[in-house]
């Protein structure tokens, strides 16, 4: 009989854990309103830093995209014709520091201006096209740093056809600096709210221990080890954390969906195909794992502090 039990020990252990996990889950569902409110509070506390993190990620992908393709706008003299501009573009494409040259002819510039500015009719009144041709130049990736790009700008400015050369990096750098600060702030906020989640779960478990005092005393009386008594509370904390994480994820996902339309609209006004990204699967899994661990740690702290105070008498 004892050999039989030994053989089955891991199986029984698993069976018991599954039972306790399901039982504590069932307990949460039995008190569904109370449990939901606790999970929602945890979810909101987690959704705040996660949401900010998503926003920052999107900001970074915007500024990052501009940084790697720190393009230079070379406006040509008014007198340079589209053909001349095209041959200049050909010439520049062979330049060792230049990756790509995109030509916007006078015609194209006019068409775009007419489409976007709303001054179409005013333009009709003009005899000739007042807009210059534009070369949008993308430096090779080795030359995209601020200094090397600046060198290229100077070189391009010396071309006889050149009128104005623009390298618009300044605001990108400012945006990046702000992003770094915001990232730090999100980290601080996440830490504080993580602590808040620990306290919420700890307090919920403490109340749960108080409510089940008689049960704990009786199980201790019939020889339950501390590990046995601890287990359902740890699973309860785990479930709270996990469901809180799921609620946080849903809130962020819904917010992103709500924002996607307006953001796409704004991006199209900037001639960008920027798409608001939500949490990736890896992020979602890390979020759920982290929130479950928070729940486990919170209940562990509460159980360690309050369970030893319950002794049968």
């Amino acid at each position: 009989m004892s050999a039989h039990r030994l053989l089955n020990a891991p199986q029984i252990w698993l069976q018991r854990h599954a039972q306790v996990a399901l039982a504590s889950l069932g307990r949460l569902f039995n008190n569904s309103l109370g449990s939901f409110m606790t999970c929602a509070v945890i979810g909101i506390a987690l959704a705040l830093p996660i949401g900010l993190h998503v926003i920052l990620n999107n900001l970074q992908s915007i500024s990052g995209g501009w940084d790697s393709g720190a393009s230079i706008s070379l406006f040509l003299q008014q007198t340079v014709s589209d053909d001349q501009a095209a041959s200049l573009a050909e010439k520049l494409r062979l330049h060792q520091r230049i990756e790509k040259v995109e030509l916007v002819t006078k015609q194209a510039a006019l068409a775009e201006f007419r489409r976007l500015s709303g001054f179409g009719e005013a333009l009709e009144a003009l005899d000739n096209n007042p807009l210059p041709a534009l070369l949008v130049i993308q430096p090779k990736t080795d030359y995209t740093s601020a200094e090397t790009a600046q060198l290229l700008v100077r070189e391009l400015g010396l071309l006889p056809e050149a009128d104005i050369v623009q390298l618009d990096l300044q605001w990108v750098r400012r945006l990046q600096a702000i992003t770094v600060i915001a990232q730090r702030a999100v980290l601080v906020l996440a830490t504080l709210l993580g602590l808040a989640v620990l306290l919420i779960i700890g307090n919920t478990i403490r109340l749960e221990i108080q409510n089940r005092r008689a049960e704990i005393e009786i199980t201790k009386l019939i020889g339950a080890t501390n590990a046995f008594i601890r287990r359902p509370f740890l699973y309860t904390g785990f479930w709270y954390g996990l469901f809180g994480g799921i609620i946080a994820w849903l809130m962020v996902a819904i917010s992103v969906t709500l924002l996607r339309g307006p953001v796409a609209n704004l991006a199209s006004l900037y001639e960008s195909a920027f798409d608001l990204s939500s949490l990736g699967w890896l992020n979602v899994i890390s979020l759920l794992a982290a929130s479950a661990v928070l729940g486990l740690v919170g209940s562990w702290l509460a159980v360690g502090k309050h369970l030893s105070a319950v002794e049968p008498s």
């Binding site: 039990r5 069976q15 049960e215 009786i218 009386l221 046995f228 008498s313």
Partner: protein, 225 residues
């Protein structure tokens, strides 16, 4: 089975629960513990179940020196001591079956084995047909029998009962005592605290008498000290 050697229990604040109590109970004995309320009956049982620790002397139970037993070993000691209480101490949010199963769940038995043993214990106390009921729907006597089933389900060698018939009428009390006798006949050691003198006189068993924390009598019922 139980050996008290000069055992004292003092509570913080100076109240004395037991002073210099010595006795020995052999395996398979059935012993009554009596005395007025406050005489130290409950204290003595609590020392055996390690709900409290003695402040002096040595307590040996089932071959264990309880004075030296580490706190983390207490659960394993309690699994060898079935305890029955006047207020039953049942869990009212679970069925009779689950209440009786608890000691087996705690010691990690498999599902099938638990079902088999719980039904055997419930059958023994005559409540098999109530296994799915919550304890609150049962009468006082039935609840006490559930408590007894829970105490014996893991087949401990020692049973302690603290006023098991305290709230029951004479007929039910006799029923409970008959159950105890049956357990004793299959080799279980019993120590039963009660102040129901009439009942224990009829049982014709050894009686320990406590008075104000000291042992004042230890004899067979027909030969009182």
């Amino acid at each position: 089975m139980i050996h008290f050697d000069n055992v004292s229990k003092r509570y913080p604040g100076g109240h004395t629960g037991l002073s210099n109590v010595s006795f020995r109970i052999e395996p398979e004995e059935m012993v009554f513990l009596t005395g007025h309320s406050g005489a130290g009956k409950s204290t003595l049982l609590k020392l055996i179940g390690l709900l409290e620790r003695s402040s002096g002397g040595q307590v040996h139970v089932n071959g264990r020196n309880l004075t030296r037993l580490k706190n983390r070993k207490i659960p394993y000691h309690r699994r060898d001591v079935g305890m029955i209480f006047q207020d039953h101490r049942l869990l009212h949010d679970r069925t009779v079956f689950d209440n009786v199963a608890l000691p087996l769940v705690v010691s990690g038995l498999g599902h099938k084995e638990i079902g088999r043993r719980v039904r055997a214990a419930l059958d023994k106390v005559g409540l098999l047909y109530k296994e799915k009921e919550p304890p609150a729907t049962l009468s006082g006597g039935e609840q006490q029998r559930v408590g007894i089933a829970r105490a014996v389900v893991s087949k401990p060698p020692l049973l302690l009962a603290d006023e098991p018939t305290g709230n029951l009428d004479p007929d039910l009390s006799r029923e409970i005592m008959d159950l105890f006798s049956q357990f004793n006949q299959v080799g279980v050691t019993l120590l039963i605290a009660t102040h129901d003198i009439e009942l224990i006189n009829r049982m014709n068993k050894r009686i320990l008498t406590l008075s104000k924390g000291t042992l004042t009598g230890d004899s067979q019922a027909e030969d009182p000290v």
